[in-house]
């Protein structure tokens, strides 16, 4: 590679001559590096500014208010927050065990020749645009669930409160599953990296003591990276909470307190996507921006916490080495 570079025609810089190129590049790069900070501050400022009328009007009561009514100009996010919580928590409950299992498969159990193709396919799952997943969700998965899966679930699981109800093409269940599909590849590739980072001598030590491969995984590998798995889960949660497009397509956009996993509902992100462009009143637009503020706060908390956890983990394992 080095030979591909243009032949160096380097003259020693004359003493005292300022190196304009050097200083120029340094400042230019510095300016670019400051830009993400500026953008973050601008995002926080601008979204809060838009939300300000609603923040002043409703304050923190916005979070518990259960009315969203443009006619009376009363807005509360409780049902949307519940919708977001149900969809992302259910999605994580399915996705995280699956993703950790896939990470283990890719890092440990899989035959070597299978690792690259399977890893690539998991990455491709993450690359499918969310709007395409949403299209598939609304026109293929939703009707399939309503026809074949939900009647069975109602028959067999209907005694559990939340699992009773009526089949529906759009609703919470397809939203949970679409979010699961989106979260799995993210958490899977994080956990693969984590498992690959476990030092070989620890693993071999456990094997030498006579553990089976699974016992080695459970007693050595998983505890070694547990902090990182928590961090990965939080990143997945942030992703699930913030996803707007695919959820809007499959959830049905009904504002009510979620009472059945099959019924249409709505989340914070999907309400913004569905209504922000054509809101009837100024206060309803501000209230949608208020939802955006809440989403921003959640994403900041989950993201920074995840980074602090994995940063601490890195320091600890460096101390170990």
């Amino acid at each position: 590679m080095a030979t591909d570079a243009p032949a160096p025609s380097i003259a020693l810089p004359k003493k005292g001559r300022p190196r304009f190129g050097d200083i120029g590049l340094r400042w230019l790069a510095l300016a670019a590096a400051v830009l993400p900070v500026v953008i973050m501050v601008l995002i926080a400022y601008e979204v809060t500014r838009q939300a300000w009328p609603s923040i002043q009007e409703f304050g923190l009561g916005f979070i518990t208010g259960n009315e969203w009514n443009a006619v009376t100009d009363k807005f509360g996010a409780r049902d949307l927050i519940l919708g977001t919580a149900v969809t992302s928590v259910v999605a994580l409950l399915i996705a995280v065990p699956m993703a950790i299992a896939i990470g283990l498969f890719l890092a440990e159990f899989s035959p070597r020749w299978l690792r690259t193709p399977v890893g690539l396919m998991v990455e491709l799952l993450a690359a499918i645009p969310s709007v395409v997943l949403g299209l598939w969700g609304i026109l293929v998965m939703g009707p399939f669930l309503a026809e074949h899966v939900e009647p069975w679930m109602i028959d067999h699981l209907g005694f559990i409160p939340f699992f009773d109800g009526f089949p529906s093409n759009q609703g919470l269940l397809p939203a949970c599953l679409i979010l699961t599909i989106m979260v799995v590849p993210i958490v899977a590739s994080i956990s693969r990296e984590l498992f690959l980072s476990v030092p070989g001598d620890l693993k071999q030590g456990a094997m030498a003591l006579g553990s089976t491969r699974w016992e080695m995984v459970r007693s050595v590998m998983v505890p070694q990276v547990s902090g990182g798995l928590v961090a990965g889960t939080m990143l997945g949660f942030g992703r699930a909470v913030g996803e707007a497009i695919a959820v809007t397509q499959v959830i049905g956009g009904a504002l009510r307190t979620p009472s059945s996993i099959y019924a249409p509902a709505d989340t914070m992100a999907s309400r913004i996507a569905a209504q922000y462009a054509g809101t009837p009143t100024a206060l309803s637009k501000a209230s949608l921006a208020y939802l955006a503020v809440l989403l921003l706060i959640i994403s900041l908390i989950t993201n920074i916490a995840a980074q602090l956890i994995s940063g601490r983990l890195q320091r600890r394992s460096r101390g170990l080495a």
Binding site: A2, A33, L139, G242, E243
Partner: protein, 300 residues
């Protein structure tokens, strides 16, 4: 490994050890099953988009324009303006984000002290975690209110989304460039800037291309930032970025909720086109990054 343990007389095959081995097999089987499910989901999505999209693809699709809100209004509607709009907006976003992203990576790997570099990385991760719909709301307030929608605004929103992606991918490759190349160049009396321009960037050029492709693939498929910045467009091919444009993701989004059979077919066709481009881009980026890694490692 377990076979060797079985031959060991000390680990005689008691029922307990058999149970432990069976348990291990079961867990390994479950992990393989999880991987299988993920692959199956990928293949099912690809197959159903292909099955419904392929029959809908015809010449009209590429020669006729789509309406902003057709909603079963009639049989008209292709994707010509949506394809051109996506190309232009994605291109503009890439042109904005790549130079800045590469400069951030250069600052981070070549100039910044470790603490600063950690702070920059943290900010990039935070920015990458901001929901895209929030970025849509942000750009709407910043650029659309008072000025109206435009492809510039949409491209700006897309650029914010792909900036951390490009910066992090570039950084990863720059970190792979062996330090002896850097030191050799400096020892010959080259300035930092010259070292970056003539030694480091050329040896990482494959990585820069990878980062760019990843950014393009991401930008092409994003819908949320376009929703408020470029969604009310003329039913014609628009090439002036100061006007809002149609786009493939937006065409899929609106047509997917239409009751009209024809609109749904247009959505499937658009999804097939978009998905094919994005998946090919992702595979290409992946293959290229493996090659770049190998090449850089050979210079060690």
């Amino acid at each position: 490994m377990s076979a060797q343990a079985g031959r060991n007389p000390l680990a005689a095959s008691t029922s307990r050890s058999r149970r432990r081995k069976l348990w291990g097999r079961l867990m390994e089987g479950l992990a393989s099953f999880a991987a299988l499910v993920a692959i199956a989901v990928l293949l099912i999505v690809i197959a159903s988009v292909a099955k419904r999209g392929l029959p809908a693809i015809n010449l009209d699709l590429f020669t006729q324009v789509t309406a902003a809100f057709s909603f079963g209004a009639g049989q008209e509607g292709g994707l010509k303006n949506a394809i051109i709009g996506t190309l232009i907006m994605t291109g503009l976003a890439t042109l904005m984000a790549v130079p800045v992203g590469v400069l951030i990576a250069i600052f981070d790997t070549e100039f910044a002290p470790p603490k600063v570099s950690m702070a920059i990385r943290m900010t990039l991760n935070v920015l990458a975690g901001v929901p895209t719909i929030v970025i849509g709301v942000f750009v709407f307030g910043l650029l659309v209110v008072g000025r109206g929608q435009s492809a510039w605004a949409a491209a700006f929103a897309l650029a914010i989304i792909i900036l951390p992606v490009i910066a992090r991918a570039t950084e990863e490759v720059l970190l792979l460039v062996p330090s002896h190349l850097r030191e050799g160049s400096m020892a010959l009396g080259a300035t930092r800037a010259r070292t970056v321009m003539t030694v480091i960037l050329p040896s990482a050029v494959g990585g820069l291309i990878t980062a760019t492709i990843v950014g393009i693939a991401r930008a092409a498929g994003e819908t949320a930032p376009i929703l408020f910045t470029s969604s009310v467009f003329a039913n014609a091919v628009v090439t002036d970025p100061s006007q809002p444009m149609a786009s493939l993701p937006f065409a899929i989004f609106t047509n997917s909720e239409s009751p009209s059979q024809h609109d749904q077919q247009v959505a499937w066709a658009a999804a097939l086109v978009l998905m094919t481009v994005v998946l090919i881009g992702s595979i290409a980026a992946r293959l290229l990054s493996v090659r770049t890694r190998r090449q850089i490692e050979q210079t060690r």
